[in-house]
Symmetry: C2
C-alpha cells in the first residue's frame, strides 16, 4: 500500500479494483483537490449552504447526518443534487459499531436511509470481524440497489487523546480490509498501514485509500481531547484525503480557507509523487 | 462493586447516589423483573406493539431507534407514553463512538433528539476519555432540561466474536465510570468489573449497574458472530439486568416467552441474594 502513495491519483484511478475508489481518485485528479470537508453543522440550511459553496474545492463531503436538528429526507436529496452539481462524493461518518445483525439495519433502510445517499460509510473494528462481514454481505445482496456505487472505510486509528484504536485494533482493521476488499476501499487513519502484517498478507496490487482526519492549519486541538495536524504534514505522512472540519467551516471566510487547504494539500501531494 | 450484587434491588435503590439508578432498581423491585428487551424491530407499529405487550414484564426497553424504517418523532412520544403506562425505562443503545464535540451534538438535539426521550444511553471507550467527559458535560449543563432523569452506561465488553472490547479497553471503561459517576451509572458487559484496579481506585459505596447483553434461552449464537448466554448464567455471572432480543421478540409467543425470561432471571437473582 505504501508504495501506491507515490503514484498519481490519475494512475491509481486507472488501476483500482473498486469502482468507488476509481471514482474518488478520478475526482481528485480532475478537480485537483484532496480536501474532505467535515460539515458538522446542525441545521440543514447551513449544511446545504456550505456544501454548495465549498463543493467546487472538495473531493468529498463528510457528514454526521444525525446531528441535523431539522433533518428530513429532502435534505439528503438536496445534498445528492449538490454532489452531482459539484462532482464530489458523500461520506457519512457513521462509525458503525454494533453486532452484524444491527449494523445491517442501521446502514440499509432505517430512519436515516444511509445506504441510499452516502457513497462512503465507515465502521469501527471494536465488535470484531463480524461487523465488516455483515456490511459487506448487505452491499453484495442481489437486491442491493447501489451496487458498485457504495464503499466502506475502516476507522483504523482515531485522533482523540487517549484513543484505544491502536495495536491489535489497527491490525484487525488491516486484516479485515484485505479480507473484504470487495467493499472496503481503505481506512480512516493518521498514517499508512500497508506495512502491517496480517495472516492473509497484502493483496496483489493492494491500494487502500487513506483518509486522515483532524487536519487543521491553525489549531492544535480542542478542549475535548481532539488533536490536529496540518494538511502538509498529513499528506507527507501518507494521507490521500485530508479531512478538515471547524478549521474550514467555522471561520469567517470558508471559501477562501477551503482554497488554502486545497492548495497546501495539493502541493504536498505533488511533492509526494515527485511532481512539485 | 461485586459486593453490591448480593444486595437486593430494593436495598440498592435506597442507597444509590444516582437518581436514574435508584429509579431503575425501584422498578426492578416493584415489578419483580430484571429483563431488558432489545426491541430490534424495523417498523414503528411492531416496536410500539411489542413495547405495549411486553411492558408489564420488563424493567427496560432497549432501542436502536435509527433502524426504524418509518421513524417519526411521534413514535418516541408514543414510546414515552408506554414507558409511563408500564413503568419501564428506555435505553437507546446508540453506542456513541466519536470525538467529544460530535457526540454532544448526536446526543442532545440532532435528527433523533435522543436526550429528549431515552433515560439511558451508552458509549464506547474507543475514542478515549473525552467521550465520557463530553457527554457528562452536556448532561450537567445549566440548560440541560432532563437533569437527574438521564444516565450513561459504558460499553465495557461486547458479545460478538473476536470483539476487541477487552483488556485496556475494559480497564479504561471502569476508570471513566469512576471518574464521571455523576452521569455514568454502570456498564454493558458480560461480567462484573468492580475488581478492576484503576488509578483513582474504587469509589466509596461503589455500585455500578451491570447490563448483560446476548442473553438467549434457546440459541447459542447467530451467523454474524453474536454469542449468547442464558438468563440464569448471566445473573450468576453478576448481571443486574439481562438483555434479550430475538430470543423474545422473534418467537411465536413473545409475552409467554418474556414471562419465562423474567421468571428465570428473577429466580437467579433471588438465589444470588440468598433468598431463593
Amino acid at each position: 500500500m505504501a508504495s501506491k502513495s507515490k503514484l498519481s491519483y490519475g494512475e491509481r484511478a486507472k488501476h483500482h479494483t473498486h469502482p468507488v475508489a476509481r471514482r474518488l481518485f478520478g475526482i481528485a485528479e480532475s478537480k485537483k483537490t484532496n480536501v474532505v470537508v467535515s460539515a458538522d453543522l446542525t441545521t440543514s440550511k447551513e449544511l446545504l449552504d456550505i456544501a454548495d459553496k465549498l463543493g467546487p474545492y472538495i473531493a468529498v463531503l463528510k457528514t454526521h447526518i444525525d446531528i441535523l436538528d431539522d433533518y428530513q429526507y429532502s435534505v439528503v436529496e438536496a445534498l445528492k443534487d449538490l454532489a452531482v452539481k459539484h462532482n464530489f462524493l458523500i461520506f457519512e461518518d457513521r462509525k458503525f459499531v454494533d453486532i452484524g445483525n444491527t449494523v445491517q439495519k442501521q446502514y440499509h433502510g432505517g430512519a436515516l436511509q444511509i445506504s441510499s445517499w452516502a457513497h462512503i460509510v465507515n465502521c469501527t473494528m471494536l465488535p470484531g470481524e463480524g461487523i465488516v462481514q455483515a456490511l459487506t454481505q448487505t452491499a453484495e445482496r442481489e437486491d442491493f440497489p447501489y451496487k458498485d456505487e457504495r464503499a466502506l472505510l475502516i476507522l483504523a486509528t482515531m485522533t482523540s487523546k487517549g484513543s484505544l484504536a491502536t495495536g491489535e485494533y489497527t491490525r484487525l482493521s488491516v486484516e479485515c480490509a484485505r479480507k473484504y476488499s470487495q467493499f472496503v476501499i481503505g481506512f480512516v487513519a493518521s498514517r499508512t498501514l500497508g506495512e502491517i502484517e496480517t495472516e492473509a498478507g497484502p493483496l496483489e496490487n493492494e491500494d487502500f485509500v487513506l483518509f486522515t482526519t483532524g487536519v487543521n492549519m491553525a489549531s492544535k486541538g480542542d478542549k475535548l481531547g481532539q488533536q490536529y495536524q496540518t494538511p502538509k504534514s498529513a499528506v507527507e505522512t501518507g494521507a490521500d484525503f485530508i479531512i478538515a472540519g471547524r478549521g474550514i467551516y467555522a471561520v469567517p471566510d470558508p471559501v477562501e480557507t477551503a482554497k488554502r487547504y486545497r492548495e497546501e494539500g495539493w502541493n504536498a501531494y505533488l511533492s509526494r509523487i515527485g511532481e512539485a
